[in-house]
């Protein structure tokens, strides 16, 4: 049955594709399909890269075909009646208004069909929920508005990084006229890297509000809930890049926190892990280092662009309910502790999230940057040591 459904599916898709191409030709943007992400005018689920995604796709076609057949049968009857039993064609009304037999039949038959639909689905639910015996466990934390990844167990244990949308895409979105890009709003600075053919368990949680970690090709969507952990799993069968986006409304920048999973061969993955661990060791910043102003400003500008500019804007003026930093009393205040406290703990009920997950150096740099940018010229320097002190 699986084969015949597949064949039907291919035929339906080809017909649909031809139709949509015909319809869409005049509108086409100069964009290509993104392998592992959406295709132009895609009509079906993403090509499956895991067994679960393949099962989901099979189930969807199985359901769609049954429903379409019933739909055509039922409405065939209705439209036959609509055209035949018209007063204008001289139809005289019959007077029947019940038939226990017919009514029992059309209650029992749908019941049996529904059971036939539920059986294969049950199998997939059970497989989908089995997160035991994972080779690699990674925690995905939703932040407003980025993803944090911590490699908890398995090869690469200890690696941790944040994954943020490429800021040029965010700016292109704001400009209202983004140039054609195949990976528009899907490009991140640090993709999640995993090995092929290994069972990867993703534990989701969140820092602020509910997010959802979704990668269609992998057949995975799992809400990330603050204060709670949930899990899901996938075993990618092909190397490549797979894309998804946050799927639970999480505030203003909901559309701008994509997910990029890079599936590498076992050797490439091992090499990536070695590299990453070396880099992390080298980058381990000494929070007691005393920085000079220009160094901190340069670093702070990067931190600002990656974390703050989405709301407070590159020009520091904020927008709508988002407070400006330019000429802000808190930023200009001689007491550095005020701004440090806001960054560490958040403000306005979380509308300004807490940023304590950033490193001491990053926080120090970005505060120093805001205190000395735009019209702000306080000359104040905040050192990582100040943050260390404030954290206690």
């Amino acid at each position: 049955m699986m084969n015949s459904i597949d064949a039907l599916r291919r035929r339906a898709l080809r017909a649909g594709l031809a139709l949509s191409m015909l319809a869409a030709t005049p509108l086409t943007w100069a964009v290509n399909d993104l392998p592992g992400g959406p295709a132009v005018n895609q009509l079906d689920l993403h090509p499956a890269v895991t067994s679960i995604a393949a099962e989901q796709q099979w189930l969807h076609w199985f359901m769609l075909i049954i429903c379409t057949v019933i739909f055509i049968a039922v409405f065939g009857v209705m439209f036959y009646s609509v055209f035949k039993h018209r007063k204008s064609k001289g139809a005289k009304p019959a007077n029947f208004h019940e038939s226990t037999t017919v009514e029992i039949v059309w209650t029992i038959v749908p019941f049996l069909i529904v059971i036939a639909m539920a059986l294969p689905a049950t199998k997939v639910v059970v497989a989908m929920k089995d997160t035991t015996n994972a080779d690699l466990t990674i925690k995905a934390t939703g932040y407003q508005w980025k993803w944090g990844y911590d490699y908890l167990k398995g090869e690469g244990e200890g690696i941790a990084f944040l994954s943020t949308l490429d800021n040029t895409h965010r700016l292109a979105s704001d400009s209202g006229k983004p140039a054609p890009m195949d990976d528009y709003l899907l490009k991140v600075d640090n993709p999640l890297v995993v090995p092929v053919d290994k069972k990867v368990r993703i534990i989701t949680t969140a820092n602020d509000v509910i997010h959802a970690w979704m990668v269609p090709s992998l057949g995975v969507k799992q809400d990330a809930i603050p204060g709670f952990v949930r899990d899901t799993w996938f075993r990618a069968q092909k190397t490549g890049d797979y894309y998804g986006q946050c799927a639970e409304l999480c505030g203003k920048e909901h559309a701008y926190m994509p997910i990029h999973v890079k599936v590498l061969s076992q050797e490439d993955y091992a090499a990536w892990v070695a590299d990453k661990q070396k880099a992390l060791a080298a980058k381990a910043e000494d929070p007691s280092k005393v920085w000079a102003l220009p160094e901190l400003l340069a670093k702070g500008e990067q931190v600002y662009a990656a974390n703050c500019a989405a709301c407070h804007q590159a020009n520091g003026k904020g927008m709508g309910p988002i407070k400006p930093l330019d000429a802000s009393a808190v930023v200009l205040d001689a007491d550095k502790a005020k701004q440090i406290a806001i960054l560490l703990n958040g403000a306005a009920n979380g509308a300004m999230p807490a940023w304590k997950q950033l490193s001491d150096t990053d926080i120090a740099a970005v505060i120093t940057y805001t205190k000395n940018s735009w019209s702000n010229t306080t000359g104040q320097i905040v050192q990582p040591a100040d943050i260390v002190a404030a954290r206690q």
């Binding site: 869409a24 509108l27 086409t28 943007w29 964009v31 993104l34 992400g37 959406p38 005018n41 895609q42 009509l43 679960i52 995604a53 989901q56 189930l59 969807h60 359901m63 019933i70 739909f71 039922v74 409405f75 009646s81 609509v82 039993h85 018209r86 139809a91 009304p93 019959a94 208004h97 059309w106 529904v114 539920a118 689905a121 997939v124 639910v125 929920k129 209202g176 983004p178 195949d182 528009y184 899907l186 509000v209 269609p216 057949g219 969507k221 809930i225 603050p226 204060g227 709670f228 949930r230 899990d231 998804g244 986006q245 799927a247 639970e248 409304l249 505030g251 909901h254 701008y256 709508g320």
Partner: protein, 540 residues
């Protein structure tokens, strides 16, 4: 509407029943079920237009990739307020308006049971609506947490969230009072001979809907009150920072939310069940099974709520239970569709506008039903949850379902309300325009959802551009068709323009509403009528 506006011009015509106040007092102090029905219908039509304008704001932004019209914050406000206004301001009050007009007429009652409470439940809606719509002008703008108001995002909202919560409390109180009124009217005020199993299906579906409303509106009130105390009084029901559980909010909300879905569709089933037999000139097939099917849908609606939450991470048994229970709903719903088609079978049909909308309803609503069945399958839902597929699905059942049934009901009963016929040509233009633009808008959304475009997105990857553009074009067309409806159909009818309606303008229509003149006089059935054996005609 002009049923009574007329009487200013022809004061002598109905001298016997002309004791009501005139001018603004007539509406502010209204206790007559027909006047209150008119108020409800005009209110919901206004809200439909406001909600529609918000929807067009959304579609304008999504016309192309990139942000051109609104910023993401305002975009979220638009989606949230579009949902809240359409659900609580347009669809629910519109059905209460239909109930106010038609229930007393269909059961041979003089009025609703509690006339003053009826007045109060309508007038509560006005401050609630003002507060809800006015929240756009509060500091920080309107609520932007989605119409489902999921915690803990609601904790980050500005003061307008409190206004929204308060508005929903008031609307909930209004709905509960309206429901009590409908239940008491139907159970106590039927004319002698109008037994429950002879009652028109519209009254039956509303009776069941009213029980659903009384059961679940307090649940919503509880959920949003807890949100309110979390926001201001240091409780932590849903705030994980204090040990609360955000998923608990979803359970409570959807325990309300799923029956709410049926609250918005059951009265539509009732309207369609009145119209199909009238234009097929043949009695409704399987009346008894219709009543049982409606009741089963209502009962099942209480045990399926967590199918909205398959991705929150439920245990296997939870997913399986809610999947099976949800799929069961297909059975009574199927029975209804089969019954309607069997009613049409071997009838002698004509296709005036009410029938067009009713047949359109069955056809397009069933598509929404099937996508619902597909979404019920948990593994498939994992792919489709929170994508445009869901948006397509619920607009197929709410627009092509509830709204089409209400249009059908309007064309069917407006001659009784206003005393004039609508123009058949205009009605047909409205139907075909709405049907085509509706499908242009929402059909492509199935593809967007399958391709993984999440809902509530202000901007999207460029591969989704063509279908979004198509949907936006359709949406503006659909909006224009509804402006056409108001300007060329509703307003002329209210001004009394058009061919005079006879007492029973539809050859095959049955029921007590066709036993009173058109327009229905201010007071009807002041003494209980004597009914024939089927309780469809007055004898003696």
């Amino acid at each position: 509407m002009s049923a009574v506006l007329d009487q200013h011009g022809h004061a002598g015509d109905h001298a016997h029943d002309d004791h009501h106040p005139h001018g603004w007092r007539r509406w502010l102090f209204a206790t007559n079920h027909k006047d209150i029905g008119t108020l409800y219908l005009l209110f919901s039509l206004t809200m439909l237009m406001i909600g529609g304008i918000l929807a067009l704001g959304i579609r304008a932004e999504l016309f192309q990739p990139g942000l051109q019209v609104v910023n993401p914050e305002l975009f979220n406000q638009l989606t949230t307020m579009h949902g809240l206004i359409m659900v609580f301001g347009a669809i629910m009050p519109a059905f209460v308006g239909f109930a106010n007009w038609m229930v007393p007429l269909q059961i041979g009652a003089a009025d609703m049971a509690f006339a003053r409470m009826n007045n109060f439940s309508f007038w509560l809606l006005i401050p609630a609506a003002l507060m809800l719509v006015g929240s756009f002008f509060m500091p920080g703008g309107a609520p932007a947490a989605g119409w489902t108001l999921y915690a803990p995002l609601t904790l980050q909202m500005g003061p307008s969230m409190d206004a929204g919560i308060f508005a929903m409390h008031i609307m909930g109180a209004s709905s509960i009072m309206g429901s009590i009124n409908i239940i008491v009217t139907i159970l106590n005020m039927r004319a002698p001979g109008m037994t429950l199993m002879k009652m028109p299906l519209f009254c039956w579906t509303w009776l069941i809907t009213a029980y659903l409303l009384i059961a679940v509106m307090p649940v919503l009130a509880g959920a949003i009150t807890m949100t309110l105390t979390d926001r201001h009084f240091g409780t932590h029901f849903f705030n994980p920072a204090g040990g609360g559980d955000p998923v608990m909010y979803q359970h409570i909300f959807w325990f309300f939310g799923h029956p709410e879905v049926y609250i918005m569709i059951l009265p539509a089933f009732g309207i369609v069940s009145a119209i199909i037999p009238a234009f097929a000139r043949k009695p409704l097939f399987g009346y008894t099974s219709m009543v049982y099917a409606t009741s089963s849908i209502a009962i099942l609606s209480f045990i399926v709520w967590a199918h909205h939450m398959f991705t929150t991470g439920m245990p296997v048994t939870g997913q399986l239970f809610f999947m099976y229970a949800t799929m069961l709903i297909a059975i009574p719903t199927g029975v209804k569709v089969f019954n309607w088609i069997a009613t049409m079978w071997k009838g002698s049909m004509t296709f005036e506008t009410p029938m067009l909308f009713a047949v359109g309803f069955i056809f397009v609503f069933t598509m929404g039903g099937f996508t619902g069945l597909i979404l019920a399958v948990a593994p498939v839902d994992i792919q489709l949850q929170d994508t445009y597929y869901v948006v397509a699905h619920f607009h197929y059942v709410l627009v092509a379902g509830s709204l089409y049934a209400m249009f059908a009901g309007y064309y069917y009963w407006s001659p009784k309300w206003t005393g004039v016929m609508y123009s058949e040509t205009r009605g047909k233009i409205h139907f075909w325009g709405s049907l085509i633009f509706f499908n242009v808008t929402f059909f492509p959304m199935h593809f967007l959802g399958l391709a993984g475009m999440p809902r509530r997105y202000a901007d999207y990857p460029m591969q989704f551009a063509d279908f979004n553009m198509l949907a936006s074009i359709g949406a503006f067309g659909f909006g224009l068709m509804q402006v056409y409806f108001i300007v060329f159909i509703v307003i002329p009818a209210m001004m009394g323009k058009g061919e005079k309606a006879t007492q029973k303008p539809w050859e095959g229509a049955e029921g007590l509403e066709w036993e009173v003149p058109s327009p229905a006089p201010f007071h009807t059935f002041e003494t209980p009528p004597k009914l024939n054996a089927t309780a469809t005609k007055i004898v003696g």
